[in-house]
Subunit: 254 residues, 2 copies
Amino acid sequence: MKPLILISNDDGIEAAGVRRLVEWLSPMADIVCVCPDGPRSAQSMAITVNTPLRAERLPDLHGAQMFKVNGTPVDCIKLSMHRLLDRRPDMIVAGINHGSNAAVNVVYSGTMGATMEGCIFGIPSVGFSLCDHDPNADFSHCREWIEKITAATLANGLPEGVCLNVNFPKEPAMPSQMRVVRAARGKWSDEFKEYIDPHGRPFYWLQGRFLNEEPEAKDTDEWCLAHGIVSVVPTMVDRTSPDAPSLRWLRSLS
Amino acid sequence: MKPLILISNDDGIEAAGVRRLVEWLSPMADIVCVCPDGPRSAQSMAITVNTPLRAERLPDLHGAQMFKVNGTPVDCIKLSMHRLLDRRPDMIVAGINHGSNAAVNVVYSGTMGATMEGCIFGIPSVGFSLCDHDPNADFSHCREWIEKITAATLANGLPEGVCLNVNFPKEPAMPSQMRVVRAARGKWSDEFKEYIDPHGRPFYWLQGRFLNEEPEAKDTDEWCLAHGIVSVVPTMVDRTSPDAPSLRWLRSLS
């Protein structure tokens, strides 16, 4: 029996990125693709608790079963695992995201939300993103790496609680390289554009510029991507900080 | 000048939990309270990218400025930091959440989403949650701890990239205690209730039961809460796993 790969994304079932992923991975595995019914960018690990969910089967694509769900990326993974799949997947792959999920973007990303949810289920999970928001972005240079990383992850698995955040530069170096690195420190600044409505009241739209706080650090995803190199960040689900011992004042409250 | 505390939550500006927080913290600081205009539970670190945001000023409460925003908890923090506040807050406090954010719940929680966003801004940030979903829950036993933890955090600060996830048991031990612990390992199971609509098509509603995978581990939040003890988990924003060195097969792909 071929391995089973569950594919999802946050750009929605119609996005070019996920359709490439289905096409490229279907020779190596049985594929079930379960995606939001429209764009759900920046949904992080949000889940739908107050409204019902539906899954609608669509025509197969490259032999893969295709479903759309009226929920978030994490909803797609949960519903697949509990209701849609008839066996446990060997791997979960999310993407290819239209836009970078490097550095702090990992915390807001719906693509990485789906990937981390897969990791919570104990399944080797990888998120792929291309540093290009264009709906018609050229993903072709991602193909070789996606095939290699997926095949190697199927063969080797991942440590418990660890998933992979893979980002592709918009324009790869020649020949392209890949590095295992850490998320760069940085922040978004100037995050809202202000408008005035016809009644004189302000409203705001999220925008912003990412500021890399350590542009010289070669062991970071942002450095790789700025130099045409594919970045892979091993990403963990556990949030407990190892800094607890330094918080003596906190323990002394008790 | 008194310190400035920014308060937010995910249950919405009308929730009893956040109104207690405003009441109890206003004697020790200037307070600006910026919350979603309705419930946004389980919104994690979702942000609103495709629609505009508005902030509406409401009548003051206990001397605090009150705003409602048509967005997520993280939107509330971002909009406050960039547009609503006239000085940088000394601390961000989220909650009091109606329901536990212990164990894996930290990744889905909008309350902890707001707290982690505060941490990304480099501000000492604490999320408070009570293990009781009742809209009319009794928060009174949380008061002493919230006052103590907030005052001590204002005085001591927190390490860079670390915030606090504080959970209160529904029924505290007598006398109540607090411990600095780690998030328990566990998962949700049986996560969807299935229904059939009048046209014979299935739909699903998220439910589930949390399974603590290490109920005997006394150094976990779940153990504390099961024994009437307040749990404090130092929680980090960085997601890079320290397990990279074990992934030799991954580096060998390059």
